[in-house]
Amino acid sequence: MSTQLPQQESEESTAEEAAEPAATDHDHEHTGGPRRDVGDKTTDTEHEPADTEDTREIRVFRYDPEIEGKQEPRFDTFHVPFTRGMTVLDAVIYARDNFDPSLTFRHSCRQAVCGSDAFFVNGEQRLGCKTQISDLEEPIRIEPLPHQDVVKDLVVDMDHFYEEMEAVDPYFDPDETPDGELEEQRQSRANREKVKMSTRCIWCGACFSSCNIAAGDNEYLGPAALNKAYRFAMDEREGDGKTQERLETIEQDHGVWRCQTQFSCTNVCPKDIPLTEHIQELKREAVKSNLKFW
């Protein structure tokens, strides 16, 4: 089982579980179920612009813990007019601004750098702003990231992800810095090249959400945090002592050895970071350093 999807489909979640946001898996049975109206302010027909337009059908996951009618998760269908270049994010923005202002999702940059809008689109973790509508099969199903608590609609609680990211001492920590205030701490081009991909992470959480291990082990550091550790462990400017400390951190019970090289994280990463490779390399480094220090 190499990706999250098969597992989810085999999972039977009950209505109670689904209504309880702490149960991170949202209920797939809603997909085929009857769709309900959005609140009492809008009606079905409002979700469709004039017939003449070329529209796309999106089905968006809805949930709000305090609003009647939304406490039980459901899917709402919207028909949004298609324009060239339209992304999944554009589609949900259109639906929000024209059909239902309560439709909620994080977004900011619209250009794949802020990492706010990782959604589960047609069964895969993707950035809404980086996914062209024209590349997707209809109806397009848009859900919050699996394996994270849903706060509301497409918004998930990212705190756990941030905690893991911050658990690996995610900052540069050299033994010494140059004396001169204007003197650089030189780094070879080769070393910069080595850590380059690892520094591209935008903290979107797509990899974490796609990872079976992270889903089962709440304390697993997860691919993004391990990649962050890689970024510093491989940096030639940090001292051996610090590198050793970093390797110990990633080698703990819920660290690199949990990874079963399923590549799901690598497949979904919008920044094309070779996460699995980085984790494998950390494993090799950990083994090497154990030999050295034992």
């Binding site: 302010k41 709000d64 813990p65 305090e66 609003i67 324009t83 060239r84 270049g85 339209m86 992304t87 554009d90 601004d97 202002p101 309560s102 909620t104 999702f105 994080r106 977004h107 900011s108 940059c109 619209r110 250009q111 794949a112 750098v113 802020c114 990492g115 702003c129 980086k130 062209q132 024209s134 706060v151 509301k152 918004v155 990212m158 941030y162 911050e166 001492d169 995610p170 900052y171 540069f172 920590d173 050299p174 810095t177 140059p178 205030e181 204007l182 650089e184 701490q185 030189r186 780094q187 070879s188 081009r189 910069r192 380059k196 520094t199 591209r200 935008i202 903290w203 510093f232 400017r237």
Partner: protein
């Protein structure tokens, strides 16, 4: 109520640097940000950071270039502070591990950039801002600085003495996005605004959806003057459907612009017979829009940027990320077809008036980064000069707010020293006279308390915001997005790269109408959980005030300087206009005034010259 020595509002490059500096100076500092820090728009910056690091270069040359680029509307003390400190701040980032691109000898690489007399732009691939933002956030984590993320600041707690110069800021009011809790954040020593630019006042922008100028609008209403707001930089190559920036690199490598008739209009229509596509940003933007306005645009909207002739090898080698951007955000394959591009709002040169220590005229209130105007960029910002501004002035504001001893500033703030009162010939009433005290209409300005003690002031401010939210949630009315899109369309149509008197006046009428309609907005989502409908409704109010300020400045300034073009006045008029446009909210009845530009530097006087390249 939360309480700290220093409260930093915003967690982009400026806010994070300010927080680290305040921490270094020994203050108990906290960051309050509507986005998690790594989501800030600083992460979108591509090109680089200017710093005079090498032999053959000097801060004086950098200052000269910046002053010339500003079309002599920058203040020398601010420009010199930037250029003297940028090398230290860039190397500081390097010592914090920022992944700069490197030379063979392991030193930081630098490249040439428009308007610079030396290749002094340091960079980290084509994602300099991303690395700067993440490196600074790492330092915040390392120091354990408290971050209240996804807390939206709704207003400032400022005393209400008659003159803004006598007022004091004691904190801010925040709204917890996740829970709907409204709470005061008391600042014992100072509040630093680092809330970024107002790009969302336009409907086509390279700025993020979150760039709604909140800090500018809140401080403006609390008495801090807005300076030089009419100076907006438009970038000539942005993708039509999203506003995503296509870097100047494409034209640098030889990319060509064509109109619908297949003409290479930059030459064939005589816009820039020498430089063609490589003419400065404002020239190319105006040329593109002229083509579209005269019916030679494609789909009446954009022009084509073609790089196919460069060949696949060169394109994938040097411009690979452009292929991704065009594909991901426009569905266009740059190897196979020309890319559609049009001008888009990119950067705001103006902002909250500060001195070179980041201090505004209101006691205890600071501003740094794109929301501030020191003024470094004057009428036109050079590429690579915004990021150093974040770290240089962010740090200074952090130090000053934390009480660190600093040289006193040369730049005057508020209506002190030399200034001149003026009026603007507006066809409609500006601002919001009469709305003072009406929480929804006046944006929640604090009306109570006089010189009340800080705690009472903050409690009153919190109460006013609760009331504002209550009113917005419990009425029926129109949706803010209608008002917002009207404002954005007005600004893009009439306060764009072309500005003429009638259009600007018409824009003010339309903005007046939008303001009137805003009186009837209602939030349709009743939830207290992650209510983005409510927050965007509040942001729209901020956009209204800033759009008006930009337009008023544009109408008042009857000359062509830097990014500001006027049909009626096709030249720079140094006799009359070597002065900053200042706008004070004045309790809802905006007042226009001017302050002379400071061209007197540390060792020399900058002599205005023709800005030609």
């Amino acid at each position: 109520m939360y309480e700290h020595d220093v409260i930093v509002v915003g967690a982009g490059g400026a806010g994070l640097r300010a927080a680290v500096a305040a921490d270094e100076a020994g203050a108990d500092v906290a960051i309050v940000s509507k986005l998690h820090p790594v989501r800030s728009h600083t992460g979108a910056a591509e090109g680089g950071i200017n710093a005079a690091l090498r032999e053959g270069d000097s801060w004086e040359d950098h200052a000269y270039d910046t002053m010339k680029g500003s079309d002599y509307l920058g203040d020398a003390p601010a420009i010199e502070t930037l250029c003297q400190n940028s090398p230290y701040e860039v190397i500081q980032l390097e010592h914090w591990g920022m992944a700069f691109s490197r030379e063979d000898d392991g030193r930081v690489s630098q490249r040439p950039f428009g308007g610079l007399s030396f290749p002094r732009t340091t960079y980290a691939g084509a994602e300099t801002g991303h690395h700067l933002l993440h490196t600074l956030y790492e330092q915040v984590v390392k120091r354990g600085i408290e971050v209240y993320d996804e807390w939206h600041v709704m207003n400032l707690a400022v005393t209400d003495e008659e003159r803004p110069e006598d007022r004091h800021c004691h904190g801010v009011v925040g709204y917890d996005v996740a829970s709907g809790e409204v709470s005061g954040f008391k600042a014992r020593d100072g509040v630093i605004l680092a809330t970024g630019g107002p790009g969302q006042a336009f409907d086509h922008t390279t700025n993020a959806v979150s760039c709604t100028g909140d800090g500018q609008a809140m401080a403006y209403r609390a008495g801090v003057p807005l300076e030089d707001m009419e100076f907006i930089q438009f970038h000539p190559t942005t993708l039509p459907s999203t506003g995503v920036l296509i870097s100047e690199g494409v034209r640098g490598e030889g990319g060509i612009l064509y109109n619908e008739d297949g003409e290479r209009f930059m030459f064939e229509r005589g816009y820039a017979n020498n430089d063609g596509e490589l003419a400065s940003r404002d020239v190319v933007s105006r040329a593109e829009l002229t083509e579209v306005n005269e019916g030679r645009g494609i789909e009446d909207e954009y022009v084509h940027l073609d790089m196919r002739h460069l060949g696949e090898e060169r394109i994938t080698d040097r411009l690979e990320n452009i292929l991704h951007l065009a594909e991901d955000f426009e569905g266009a394959d740059g190897l196979d077809e020309p890319m559609p591009v049009k001008p888009g709002q990119h950067y705001a040169m103006g902002g909250l008036e500060t001195d070179e220590n980041g201090e505004t005229c209101v006691g205890g209130l600071y501003a740094a980064g794109e929301c501030a105007c020191a003024s470094v960029h004057g009428a036109n910002r050079l590429g690579g000069n915004a990021l150093p501004e974040l770290i240089v002035f962010g740090k200074r504001a952090g130090h000053h707010a934390a009480g660190k001893e600093m040289e006193s500033a040369e730049i005057e703030t508020g209506q002190r020293g030399e200034f001149e009162r003026a009026t603007v010939d507006s066809p409609v009433e500006l601002g919001d006279p009469g709305s003072f005290g009406d929480a929804v209409a006046d944006g929640g300005a604090v009306a109570a308390g006089g010189t009340a003690d800080p705690d009472t002031l903050l409690e009153d401010a919190v109460e006013a915001e609760r009331q504002r939210i209550d009113e917005l949630l419990n009425t029926d009315g129109i949706h803010h997005s209608e008002v917002r899109s009207d404002v954005q369309e007005t600004m893009t149509a009439k306060v764009n790269v072309f500005r003429e008197e009638d259009g600007l006046k018409e824009a003010l009428r339309e903005l007046r109408a939008a303001r009137d309609r805003y009186e009837d907005v209602a939030v349709q989502d009743p939830s207290t959980t992650f209510n983005t409908d409510l927050l965007q409704t509040i942001e729209t109010r901020n956009i209204l005030d800033l759009a008006e300020a930009i337009t008023v400045g544009a109408l008042a300034r009857k000359e062509f300087r830097g990014a500001h073009w006027r049909a009626e006045a096709q030249e720079r008029k140094d006799d009359e206009w070597l002065k900053h446009t200042m706008l004070s909210w004045n309790e809802g009845d905006p007042e226009l005034w001017y302050r002379p530009v400071i061209l007197e530097g540390e060792n020399k006087e900058y002599e205005p010259k023709v800005r030609s390249y």
